[in-house]
Amino acid sequence: MSVTIATDSLFNSEERDGLRLLVGMIIPASQTYTLPGADDERIFADILDSARANEVQIRNSLAYGVENGLGAKVSAAELCSRLEGQPVMAPLVSLVMQCYYRDDRVMLALEMEPRPPFPNGYDVPQGDWSMLDAVQKRGKIWRDV
């Protein structure tokens, strides 16, 4: 993933600050799980870079946040309660999840290998096929014509 520098960004400085506050609210850092928040520098850069595809919708999410107290003297808990679950926030939430859960550190913490699925693939156990014995004992269930 590319690293976005300030002059490349779709958003001005104030907008970036606002977005960073919002994404950090959606997924904060965790000491318990030793994880960064979505406002981590690397993850946030990915979010800004990936926002191009849905710029209008992301701006709408940000504007809604500002209308409801983002950047004003409103507690994080109060702001969350105003914004969480609102349809206009969905595009930003989706973007945050997409970028957060492909970060190497987050994937490693989930015991995933930080790589694309192809070409190595994954292992899946066969399972216990003797469990079919009970089904076979019941016999035919399709209807004659």
Binding site: C80, M112, I141
Partner: protein, 537 residues
């Protein structure tokens, strides 16, 4: 380039290079007729499939979305689905819907062809399971079907490769079915579990419905098309058909289409075969208006575009304490047809299949949790996420949809595609019978998941995104007043026009249609070959 294209008359012109178009092309190739296929999309390079990159889950929501209105690639056209609770899903390119399908590959049952006789609803097909059985077998051979012989829900059929692994998810769900004494069996899948016909076996990438980078999933761009092209079929991509032209004799004379440079062209042909799916085929027929066919081509019955069937789906997912397959493995695992045949004690007729689902990727887990209210913003996010990650498994119920004339594909009065061709509009409502079936399916699936140890259930019914089975809109039948094509796929009105895609379905069964679509394409083209000297009689 246009000057390299041979516009002399084709013996056979096929519109659409998807599941049925590829099959038809392959089967007719041995006649050595000049066969040309026009496909509005292009070839997809397997190295471009999302699973080759770290951003694969993002691409599943953008350029590889199953919804063309979201995907908006050059081969796509808009579909107005505002008046349908089930939204369109398709793929426009070589391989068609087989590029993005999960590879669930059940056959119809014998009873699926006799719905009217058995249950007093819908209509009977003008052919039977026994008529199609040899063609099912031939299609299985080309496609490469994995599964396990002996399924008590079906007449005897061979399996060419072992089944996909059950995995932890499938085994967990099998425990639930066994506790209740209900049927289950490994799914038939169009996914290679061993090297097959030059394709490698599945390596459990976990994202079948966004294209198989491994080539283990049988999409027709890698099964039928290579052989058809080697046998001399000409496939022109990025060519969108606008209309089928008709001569003074009332026969199709060829098609008008936009070539890859956007220039309008006319390709004459002696025979035209439509393979554009249950939305694309009526769209072209309704756009093909002439003095002889003022209501659209081949539409004297008035049934072109009517009887749209979509298979209402319900999704019932369980959250388990144990870690399951999660992001690993094909979507296919085991299925249950316990409630497939009509049960007289139930308050609906016909039935459904449960197809189990293994789990979902890391991003999809997060989105599922957020949208269902199980993962909050803020401090509780991480703990709540870990209760879901790799711990979701369940099933979808594929409900048989009955044909109803008020469910339609028409031409949208305002919406047009990039070439200015009127776009299709889907108008669809879920019937009482379907709603009762969905409710029943949700209740029984919930029982199964709880019996298997699920601690929480996530239910979506109907599944809004599930408009991937498009059927019924140019139905087959012997009566020209009650059908669009005859019992071997030829238009009643236009003797050199054939339809081979899911539009011809009389009823929908409660299973995925692709295996039967391809089987019918083999059957119809086989009939054409047998009748070559009297094809237009």
């Amino acid at each position: 380039m246009t000057e390299d294209v041979d516009f002399s008359p084709a013996d056979v012109l096929i519109i659409g290079a998807g599941a049925s178009g590829a099959t038809a092309a392959w089967n007719l190739a041995e006649t050595k007729m000049r066969i040309v296929c026009l496909e509005q999309g292009g070839w997809t390079n397997p190295s471009d499939y999302p699973t080759t990159g770290r951003d694969w889950e993002s691409r599943a929501q953008s350029d590889f979305s199953i919804n063309p209105n979201r995907r908006q690639q050059p081969g796509d056209y808009p579909v107005n689905d505002d008046d349908s609770p089930i939204k369109i899903a398709n793929f426009n390119g070589v391989g068609g819907g087989t590029v993005l399908y999960a590879g669930h590959y059940p056959r119809f049952h014998p009873s699926d062809f006799k719905v009217k006789s058995l249950d007093g609803v819908g209509d009977d097909w003008p052919l039977s399971y026994d008529d199609l059985e040899p063609f099912y077998a031939e299609n299985d051979r080309i496609t490469g079907v994995s599964g396990l012989a002996g399924d008590p829900a079906y007449p005897a059929k061979q399996s060419l490769m072992p089944p996909l692994p059950m995995g932890k998810s499938g085994q967990k769900l099998a425990e639930g079915f066994n506790q209740l004494g209900w049927h289950w069996w490994p799914s038939d899948s169009a996914i290679a579990t061993q090297p097959y016909n030059g394709r490698d076996q599945c390596i459990n990438l976990g994202a079948c419905i966004y294209g198989c980078a491994q080539g283990a999933k049988a999409s027709t761009d890698i099964t039928y098309w290579p052989e058809a092209i080697r046998a001399g079929v000409e496939l022109r991509t990025n060519c969108r058909v606008k209309a089928i032209n008709v001569g003074d004799d009332g026969l199709a004379s060829g098609v008008t289409y936009f070539d890859e440079e956007g220039v309008e062209q006319f390709q004459p042909a002696h025979v035209v075969i439509m393979a554009c799916n249950g939305v694309g085929t009526p769209r072209i027929l309704l756009n093909s208006v002439s003095d002889q066919f003022p209501d659209g081509l081949a539409n004297s019955s008035g049934l072109v575009g009517k009887n749209l069937m979509l298979h209402p789906y319900a999704s019932i997912q369980g959250v388990f304490a144990d870690a399951l397959d999660g992001y690993r493995g094909p979507h296919d695992s085991i299925w249950s047809q316990e409630f497939y045949e009509t049960g007289e004690e139930r308050d609906f007729v016909r039935g459904f299949t449960y197809e189990t689902t293994r789990g979902r990727g890391a991003v999809a887990t997060a989105l599922t949790g957020v949208h269902s209210g199980r993962i909050p913003w803020g401090e509780g996010h991480h703990h709540a996420y870990r209760k879901l990650f790799n711990r979701i498994a369940g099933m979808v119920a594929i409900c048989e949809d009955l044909p109803e004339e008020h469910n339609t594909v028409t031409l949208d009065p305002n919406l047009r595609d990039a070439h200015g061709i009127p776009a299709p509009k889907m108008t669809y409502s879920i019937s009482d019978n379907s709603q009762k079936m969905l409710d029943f399916a949700v209740a029984r699936a919930s029982e199964t998941l709880l019996a298997a140890g699920a601690e929480d259930l996530i239910i979506e019914s109907p599944l809004a995104a599930g408009g991937w089975h498009l059927m019924g809109t140019a139905r087959m039948g012997v009566n020209p007043q009650k059908s669009v094509v005859n019992e071997w796929g030829r238009s009643h009105d236009v003797k050199n026009l054939f339809v081979v895609d899911g539009s011809i379905f009389v009823t929908s069964a409660g299973v995925n249609p692709t295996r039967t679509i391809q089987t019918l394409a083999l059957y119809i083209t086989d009939q054409m070959k047998k009748r070559l000297t009297q094809l237009f009689d």
